[in-house]
């Protein structure tokens, strides 16, 4: 593929608002997980909650979209000058020439969960102030963002559970390659709700501790929430050395089970291999893998097999979900931004909360941060229904070196 430039990017999660706080938390190995005190939830678990979401005000003309998920989207969009960058791109290319591709798993369903507590006792009807289209519907976050920026080009939500906001890069890449659009706003927004907390609990996949990816004692996920965005543009002729590029995307399906991964990680391996192939790279070209690493027994076992089969045991890797929690439909986006920070700042972030690596998993899993130049990285996102997506990102100067090294 022709590399695409992440001309602007930002992430907001429980470890920080925007890039500076996120980078500082990664450098300082500070996590955002805390005992759950969300809404009326009575589960003994840890969550990665973004502070201050409830206090946000929606713009008056978009008041119908008011719900936790869209507030979190707004909070994320207004960090790091991302808002201004999208408006500048809209002025440059035209509002119809920018595509919008956002991932979410549960959108604003919290609004419906709360409305069900306020049903009319006689008729069972939902309260009159409930707005399905602007809050609960899966498309709501893209609809909100579209109106927020006044974009008029193609817009869509990708909702394939925990691969959603990695998959948006795949859809945006294709539509940019058709020539239908000149730039794309991609990202993911998922917010805390009872459906996912009680749902993952019903599957026995929620840990009562802060999640411990790749640990011998791992016993489940910690759910988090996040908003992450990137502006994708065609790569201009001259880029700064530390500019971040999307180099490859790989997608596959497991065809195995709705809620557990293929035990040998077959689909995961196919996605990683396809991402490398699209980037024209070998496994040895990758300096760091941001693992899906949910801290469930089955994910980490299957993913480690897939990574080992393709890369061997030597590529440095970690899951940043010990810091952010599993932000579900936003995870691909958040981890793409963490990969971009790794490339820009030469930081391989350690996984948090992991005390004793599971010896069966046999990878170079980072328990301490490493500071060293990073040229190319791979990020994994897998989800329910057996949906897999891997992304390869690289620094602009890695492409120059490529040309120099390969006559």
């Amino acid at each position: 593929m022709n590399p695409l430039w992440l001309s602007h990017f930002t992430a907001t999660s429980s470890i920080g608002r925007g890039l500076d706080q996120t980078l500082a938390a990664l450098r300082g190995r500070r996590g955002g997980l805390a005992p759950c005190a969300f809404d009326t939830v009575d589960l003994a678990t840890f969550i990665g909650e973004v502070a201050g979401v409830d206090a946000l005000q929606m713009p008056a003309h978009l008041a119908d979209y008011d719900c936790r998920n869209n507030r979190l989207a707004l909070l994320g969009l207004t960090q790091d000058g991302f808002d201004e960058a999208v408006r500048a791109a809209s002025a440059k290319y035209g509002a119809q020439r920018i595509g919008l591709f956002l991932g979410t798993s549960t959108s604003g369903i919290l609004q419906t969960e709360r409305a069900y507590r306020r049903r009319d006792p006689a008729s069972g009807a939902l309260p009159a102030d409930f707005d399905y289209r602007c809050t609960h519907n899966t498309f709501s976050v893209a609809d909100f963002t579209r109106h927020y920026f006044g974009l008029t080009g193609p817009a869509v939500v990708v909702s394939s559970a925990c691969s959603s906001s990695a998959k948006v890069f795949a859809s945006a890449r294709r539509m940019m390659a058709t020539g239908l659009i000149d730039a794309a706003v991609v990202g993911g927004v998922d917010s805390l709700c009872l459906t996912t907390l009680y749902g993952f609990n019903s599957l026995g996949l929620i840990s009562e501790q802060a999640c411990r990816p790749f640990d011998a004692q791992r016993n489940g996920i910690s759910i988090g929430e996040a908003a992450a965005f990137a502006l994708l543009e065609r790569s201009p002729e001259h880029l700064e050395a530390d500019a971040v590029l999307l180099l490859g995307v790989g997608e596959s399906s497991d065809a195995h089970h709705m809620s557990s991964p293929h035990p040998d990680g077959l689909g995961a391996r196919m996605a990683m291999q396809d991402a490398l192939s699209m980037a024209g790279l070998q496994p040895s070209d990758i300096d760091y893998i941001n693992l899906h690493g949910t801290a469930t027994q089955s994910n980490d076992a299957a993913e480690s097999k897939a990574v080992r089969q393709l890369f061997g045991p030597g590529t440095p890797c970690s899951s940043t979900k010990g810091a952010t929690g599993h932000t579900l439909g936003a995870a691909g986006g958040v981890e793409a931004v963490i990969c971009a920070l790794a490339l820009r700042h030469g930081l391989l972030p350690a996984g948090l909360n992991t005390r004793q690596l599971d010896p069966a998993l046999e990878l170079d899993y980072l328990l301490e941060n490493r500071e060293r130049p990073v040229a190319r990285v791979l990020s994994n996102s897998f989800g329910f229904g057996g949906t897999n997506c891997s992304l390869v990102f690289g620094r602009a100067d890695s492409l120059v070196n490529e040309l120099v090294n390969k006559p």
Binding site: L126, T138, M175, L180, L194, G199, A255, H257, G385
Partner: protein
């Protein structure tokens, strides 16, 4: 800027429309439309446990998808896929919200995994063995158009066949009143970058500026027009009508507010 593909197979299921061959004359206006409730077949391709557990969106997706694949003479496992729907399994969503509002929040694990928006994509992959890429989309009332653009992009950029599965199902009350989709309705299209012996039509799609356009194509029949506007996937019906008529023509489909899709159709 246009996107083009060849349609090799069509699947159709909805109220009074039981498959593509028997619906052609209705859509083409040679036979009257007889409204009726959508009949969802049991998904024979799924293992018994999954068959028992799956909801309407899965049955609808499998039925329309398999009809299109059979018509195209292809193996479903070979096709990248695009699933597009306004929402997921409405019944699972309702039951979960009801339980979460009660004193007993112990929802069933099957109910939870059936509530994800990509439930039909997951079951499709399990049923057909497809390990191919799939995109799972929502764009509220614009879901058919969003799915069509994604599938055409796959065809054009990845130079591959692709199957579009645009399906919508019903919420029970009280969500029904907030999102009144009256019945299950689905369209599946197998799209190819090349013409083949199975090709039904070539389609070429562009975005229109709604301000410069008269609006999406409508049906003269009130019941069919009601279907088109009430169910997001049925916004694709004018495209199927144009194919049914078997003449070169242009169809305009609803997409996002302010933007529609213009489709040039050439029968093959």
């Amino acid at each position: 800027m246009t996107l083009s593909a060849y349609i090799e197979g069509i699947g159709l299921l909805g109220p009074g429309l039981s498959n593509w061959p028997s619906s052609r004359a209705v859509l083409g206006g040679q036979q009257p439309y007889q409204p009726g409730k959508t009949v969802l077949p049991a998904p024979a391709l799924l293992p018994a446990a999954e068959r028992r557990r799956c909801g309407a969106i899965v049955k609808l997706t499998l039925a329309t998808g398999l009809e299109a694949v059979a018509a195209a003479g292809l193996a479903a496992a070979s096709l990248p896929s695009v699933f597009s729907s306004s929402g997921g399994d409405g019944e699972s969503c309702h039951i979960i919200c009801e339980m979460l509002a009660s004193s007993d929040r112990q929802i069933s694990p099957t109910r939870f995994h059936n509530s994800v928006h990509n439930v039909a994509a997951g079951y499709w992959s399990i049923a057909t063995g497809a390990m191919t890429p799939s995109s799972v989309l929502s764009a509220f009332d614009a879901s058919f158009g969003a799915g069509l653009l994604e599938a055409l992009s796959q065809v054009a950029v990845d130079d591959t066949r692709s199957i579009l599965l645009a399906c919508d199902t019903v919420y029970p009350e009280p969500l029904y009143s907030a999102r009144p989709i009256p019945d299950a309705f689905g369209i599946a299209l197998v799209l190819s970058p090349q013409r083949s012996a199975r090709t039904l039509a070539q389609i070429t799609v562009s975005l229109t500026d709604a301000n410069a356009d008269a609006g999406a194509d409508r049906f003269d029949d009130d019941a069919l027009e009601g279907l088109r506007t009430a169910i997001p996937a049925a916004r694709g019906l004018p495209l199927l009508r144009a194919i049914a008529l078997g003449q070169a023509q242009r169809a305009v489909l609803d997409y996002l507010d302010g933007t529609r899709l213009a489709v040039a159709i050439v029968p093959c």
